[in-house]
Every structure is written in C-alpha cells, then in structure tokens.
C-alpha cells in the first residue's frame, strides 16, 4: 500500500534539536529498503498560496488552507505492505520526536487515479527540477463550504499530465483512515484520526512542475476542487540531507523573511472573469 506521510508540528511540539534530528540516516534507510518513493520539504506555511474559485471568481490568498497547528512542513510517499510498516517508518523519522507524523493511505483501484499494482511516483522520475522551473505541492482540500461540483478531475489530470506540468498525484483516503504517530520520551504513541476535527481536510495531492507561481495558480484554478473546495500550493524546498543542520536552520530562519515569488494580491482585485479561468 502507498501512504503519504505528512510532517506537522502537532499538538505537543518539542524543540528541534539539530544533533538529534538528523534525517540523513532515515532517508538512506528508506531508499535502501526500496519503500521511499519520493519526499520533499516544503517552504514554510507563510509561503503557501491558496486558490479558490467561487461564483466564477478566482480568489487567491496567502497562507495555508487552515490556520491550525497542523500546517504541513514536508511529505513523503512510501510503499509498504501495511500500516504497521508505515508506523514503524514514521516512528523513526526525526519529526516523530519533536512533532507528529500523519499517515494517510492513498486511494487505490476503483475511483483512484493510479491503478492497483502501479506505484504513484513514475519510474525514472527526476527529483531535480530543470533550470527555470519551480515545483509545488498541490494539496486538494475538501471544504463543505465550497460549491456543489461533481465534475471529476480526470480531464484536468490528463491535460496537465500531457503537457508535463503535473508529475504525479492521487486521491487520499478519507481522514478517518488517518493514523498519527509520535515519539515522546522514547515511547511510540499511535492514535487514530486526523489531528484536528477541522471542517476542511486534505483529499489528495499532486506535484506540479511549472515556470512559476502564476502558472501554478492558473493550473490550480482549473482543478474542479478549486470550486468545490480549496487548493493549497506549497513551494518545495529541496532537502540537502548532507548539509550541516545547525547552519541550515540559521539560513532558513534568515530566508524565511524572503518570498520565493512576488506576492499576489488578494481579494476582488485578483479576481478573473470566468471565461479566463475556464478558457
């Protein structure tokens, strides 16, 4: 089974310790065992962009879809026989010690985008973006306040896949299939369900490769879930597992003030006529 691991601060965050929380060993082990398909760190949540289409208007906002603590700091896609192995892998990830790992199974087979037997991340997938391209994690967020849209994303998937903008992605199982894992005082704590019973929840993810945020927003706006829910775009922040962690933490703190992309305006000024959004 394939699972998405989401790394979050959790309800009981512990201080990050560069010496304790080295990810290199975990990463090397996952690759050696052949279970780690793909994973990236994300730019902090203040670099997130949410995209909604309501009444034909494109609404763009800064920040993550939810202001709750569960803002996602990174993700991995793993392929393991069952939840027990996913828990074991999650429990050894450094974030389990100072934050929390959410385990979300992908939707397989009927109704899923990926057929049974295939891996989500395509073979020969190049993890390094080409010069001039930027990568975004596109989170599909279900939101009961969205418009009533029963359009399937299949056309969107086919189109964005054909022109190379969408590298892979899939639906996730509902939040009640979520398992949370953390380590506290050396003890493994496993609990069921999502971190918070928020009204919004992540229903799927896609990885985009685009010329920049404007393109990513336009792609996101064409996804049916931009009307039925919310799309969150998170720039990737590739992880150098060999970098010195203390140095990297300092550098990131300094960088966090900078924007990766020019800020987009929010509100009526950012709205686009329906024809433009839907072509």
């Amino acid at each position: 089974m394939e699972y998405a691991l989401f790394y979050t601060q959790g309800a009981d965050p512990q201080p990050y310790d560069p010496a304790l929380d080295d990810i290199a060993e975990w990463d090397a082990d996952g690759i050696a065992r052949g279970v780690l398909e793909y994973g990236e760190r994300l730019r902090p949540e203040h670099d997130a962009t949410t995209v909604r289409v309501r009444g034909g208007e494109l609404l763009i906002a800064d920040g993550p879809f939810s202001e709750a603590k569960e803002a996602i700091g990174g993700f991995d896609v793993i392929d393991v026989p069952s939840l027990d192995e996913a828990i074991e892998i999650a429990s050894r990830h450094p974030v389990a010690r100072f934050g929390e790992v959410e385990i979300r199974p992908f939707w397989r087979g009927e109704g899923g985008v990926v057929a049974d037997g295939d891996r989500l991340v395509p073979d020969g997938f190049d993890a390094e973006p080409k010069p001039g391209r930027s990568r975004y994690l596109l989170l599909v967020v279900a939101d009961p306040n969205g418009e009533d849209v029963d359009e399937s994303p299949e056309a969107w998937v086919a189109e964005t896949g054909a022109n190379g903008e969408r590298l892979f992605g899939n639906r996730l199982q509902a939040p009640d299939a979520t398992t949370r894992v953390m380590l506290r005082g050396g003890e493994l704590v496993v609990s069921d369900g999502p971190l918070t019973e928020a009204k919004e929840w992540i229903a799927g993810l896609d990885l985009l490769d685009t010329a920049g945020l404007a393109d990513a927003v336009s792609i996101a706006a064409r996804h049916p879930m931009a009307r039925a829910g919310t799309i969150e775009l998170r720039p990737l922040w590739p992880l150098d597992v060999h970098a010195d962690h203390a140095e990297r933490t300092r550098r990131e703190a300094a960088e966090s003030a900078q924007r990766t992309e020019p800020r987009l305006t929010t509100g009526p000024g950012a709205s686009a006529p329906r024809a433009e959004v839907w072509r």
Binding site: M1, L83, D84, I103, A177, T178, L188, S191, D192
Partner: protein, 443 residues
C-alpha cells in the same frame, strides 16, 4: 443477519419443535453442543474466514450462517465429531458461494487461497486437514491483535473485540456501554472500514513489536472487565456477563501466548476481583467495602485459580498487571480484614507508582500507606496529593480522607470530608454508601 449471543438464541432455535426432531434427550444434547460450539469456536471460525476471504463482513455473515445451519441440521443428522471443523468448513463454503454470487468480488475470489467446490455437505476429512492446531492458534491471535490494533480508537477496539472475538451481538455491546444500538453498529462499521482503508494488517505482530502490542490487547480486555466489575447501576446482569466474557478472552490469550506472563497475571487479577462479586453488594444493591465483606461468600473456585496463577508466576518477571494481581492476592489470602498484609500491598503500589504517574495509583498508594503505617501518615500523603491537584474533583480523595479521620478519632473532620465526598460522588449507590458512613458518625 447478526447471530444472537451464543447458546441463548441458538438454543431457542434448536429446541423449536420440528417434525423430524429426535427425542427430547437428544435435543438437549444438541442444545449443549451448540452452546459449547458457539463459546469455543466462534472466534476460530471468524478468524479463519477473515484470513481466507479478507472481508470482515462476509466472514461474520458466513460464520453466523454456519451456526444457524448447525442449529438446523445437527438435531437431524447428529453432532459432528469435530464441531469446530464442521463449522469452519461450512462457513467457508457459504462464504465462497456468497463471493461467487457477487460479481464485484472477482478480485477476492482470485485471492481465495484454497478454492474449493461449493455445495454439498462439508467433507469431514477435508475439515480435519484444514485445522492443523498451529494454524488455528495463529488465526485467533491474528483476530485478537487486529481488533486491538493501536491505530483504532480505544472504544472501537473494545467493541470490535467483543463483537468479532467474543461473538457478542451489537445490541448487547451497546447496552453494556450504555449507547444506542445504532451508535454501536456505526462504531463497528467504521472500525472495520478503517482496518481496510488504513491498511491495518491482519496478523500477529512480529516478535519485536509483540510486548507493546500485547499491552493494547490486555488493556482492551481489562477495560471490558472493569466495565463489568465497576458497574454500579443500570444493566447489572449484562455487565457481569461482560466480566465473564473478559475472563474467557483473557484465558484464551494467556493460553495462546503461554510465555507472556502479563496475560496470566491479568487473568489472575480478574479472577481474584470476580471472586468477590457476591459479597460486594448488599441485598438492597448497596455497596459493601472490602473491609466489611463476608469473606465466606467469596467464590472459592475463582480465588483458588487466581492464587494458583500467582504462585505459578513465582519469581518471574513483574509487570503492572502482576503487581495489581499481587494486591488482590494479598486481600484474597487474608482470613479477616485485620489480617491484611498492608505492607505487601504498599510495596506493590510503590512498584506501580514507579511505573506510572497516574494520580489514581498515587491515591491508592496513599491509602495503603495509611493502612500500613497509621491514619496520620495516610492523611499526610493524601494532603500532599490534594495540594498536587491531579485528582481534581474526584470523590474518592475526600472519601479516603474521611475514612482516615474516622480511624484517627476525629469525627468532626471525618464528617466534613464525607459531606464533600457525597457532593462529588457520581453514582447514587456510592452516595448512599457515603451517607451511611456519615450517619454512623452521629450528628
């Protein structure tokens, strides 16, 4: 269709007058055989069916249908020599039939490990071949560990264990936990769906994970037992049944995992607590504390077995259930309340307190201090606990203070504490008991 609990409903069906039914004596024999088969074999049959079909609902339905077929055909054809094998084979045929009829289950049929031809009566030789003992042990353990998986919510673990391992009907579990039947049915559906969608494996955890996962299994069983043991109102009989069910399942786990001494210790703990059932309540339903219980009314069979387990565990490893069982053992082996070895009990609470910072353990330890070293020492421990604030508005803290003030001869302070405890007590039975103690102190 859901099977009703064991012998009861099945016996009703089996004893329904039938043209072809043999004489009444044989009928009673079939009745007993069906009752025994349900108690002994339900978990076997369901566990095997889940493994072969991979579908919890089909497994449950086919198992229930197999027991119904037994109730219909055993009175006519006689009791098979191996009822468990007969039931398993029959259930497998029924499940295969069912899956064949449902075209959407093509995938599952393909996964079916031992494809058999359906129809016709089960072949006993085939059944004997299918039930190698080791495999049956594994099947039941798989079921127990899956139902108690830590990625399920605790209430789902308890409900699923009672339903799937214990064979209790949804309505019975609902009544025992005082929730509407629809709520319990929904909880079971969700738990089974979660096992499927989250990918919870149907297996016994690997050796390195076993101790941790066994903790969850034992916690589920202890919770079931406590629900029966501590019940002070409502569906009383049903809840005593829950304790009996918990003991039966714990005996099963301890038997399947003979090297896990904590499972045996939990069994001893449950038996020693159950031994006091008849002495714990007055005819009017009032609560009788340990100190005032008529020890001749304690159940000798349970006491003997519980103490024998403790003796057998001897100097082996000591876990939290072992310590709690030792405490019960100290009470059980005291001829009168004043003979109780409170220093031995205090040593056990010291051990428990070292493992857990639970305020309830701290409270019980403080009481043991007072009983072992005098009420003043007990009051000092309780005062420290009260200052710590961990017990909030828990009524047994002022109740314990009241008791030590009474023993120390300070009736005024005792009355004050009893009144506070009465105000906090959650059940009428406990309030009545505390009011009785208050009245006994005079105005």
């Amino acid at each position: 269709m859901r099977p009703a609990r064991g012998g009861l409903a099945l016996s009703r069906q089996a004893s329904t007058p039938d043209a072809s039914a043999p004489d009444a004596g044989a009928d009673a024999g079939v009745d007993a055989a069906l009752r025994a088969a349900f108690t002994e074999e339900w978990a076997h049959v369901v566990a095997t069916l889940i493994r072969t079909t991979g579908d919890w609902d089909v497994a449950e339905e086919a198992s229930a249908a197999a027991f119904e077929r037994a109730a219909r055909t055993w009175p006519r054809d006689g009791i098979p020599s191996r009822p468990g094998a007969w039931l398993t084979t029959t259930a497998r045929h029924l499940a295969l039939d069912r899956l064949r009829r449902r075209s959407v289950e093509v995938e599952k049929l393909r996964e079916w490990r031992d494809v058999e031809e359906p129809g016709g009566p089960p072949d006993p030789a085939d059944a004997v071949a299918a039930d190698a003992d080791a495999e049956w042990v594994d099947d039941r353990l798989r079921l127990i560990f899956t139902c108690a998986h830590p990625a399920l919510a605790m209430d789902a673990r308890v409900a699923l264990t009672l339903r799937t391992v214990g064979g209790l009907a949804t309505g019975e579990i609902a009544r025992a936990f005082l929730v509407p039947e629809a709520t319990m049915a929904q909880r079971l559906v969700r738990a089974k769906r979660r096992i499927r969608t989250a990918g919870i494996p149907y297996r016994v955890p690997p050796p390195e994970a076993l101790p941790e996962r066994l903790d969850s299994v034992l916690a589920v069983l202890y919770l079931v037992h406590n629900e029966g043991y501590l019940a002070s109102s409502g569906e009383r009989l049903m809840r005593v049944d829950l304790s009996t069910e918990a003991i039966r399942l714990t005996r099963l786990v301890a038997g399947l995992l003979p090297h896990e001494t904590e499972a045996e210790a939990l069994l001893a703990l449950m038996l020693l607590q159950r031994a006091r059932t008849a002495a714990r309540a007055a005819p009017d339903g009032g609560l009788i504390p340990l100190e005032l219980q008529d020890r001749s009314r304690w159940d000798r069979t349970d006491l003997t077995e519980g103490l024998a387990i403790l003796t057998r565990l001897g100097s082996g490893p000591v876990g939290a259930y072992r310590l709690q069982a030792e405490i019960q053992g100290a009470h059980a082996s005291a001829a009168t309340a004043s003979d109780t070895d409170w220093h031995r009990i205090l040593a056990c609470y010291d051990g428990l307190a070292a493992r857990s910072d639970s305020p309830f353990i701290a409270l019980n330890r403080a009481i043991a201090v007072g009983m072992a070293d005098g009420p003043e020492r007990g009051l000092a421990e309780l005062a420290a606990l009260e200052a710590g604030g961990g017990l909030g508005a828990y009524h047994l803290l002022p109740a314990a203070q009241a008791d030590f003030h009474r023993r120390a001869g300070d009736a005024t302070a005792a009355r004050r504490c009893y009144r506070r405890a009465i105000g906090l007590a959650p059940t009428a039975v406990e309030r009545r008991y505390l009011e009785g103690r208050l009245a006994a102190l005079g105005a």
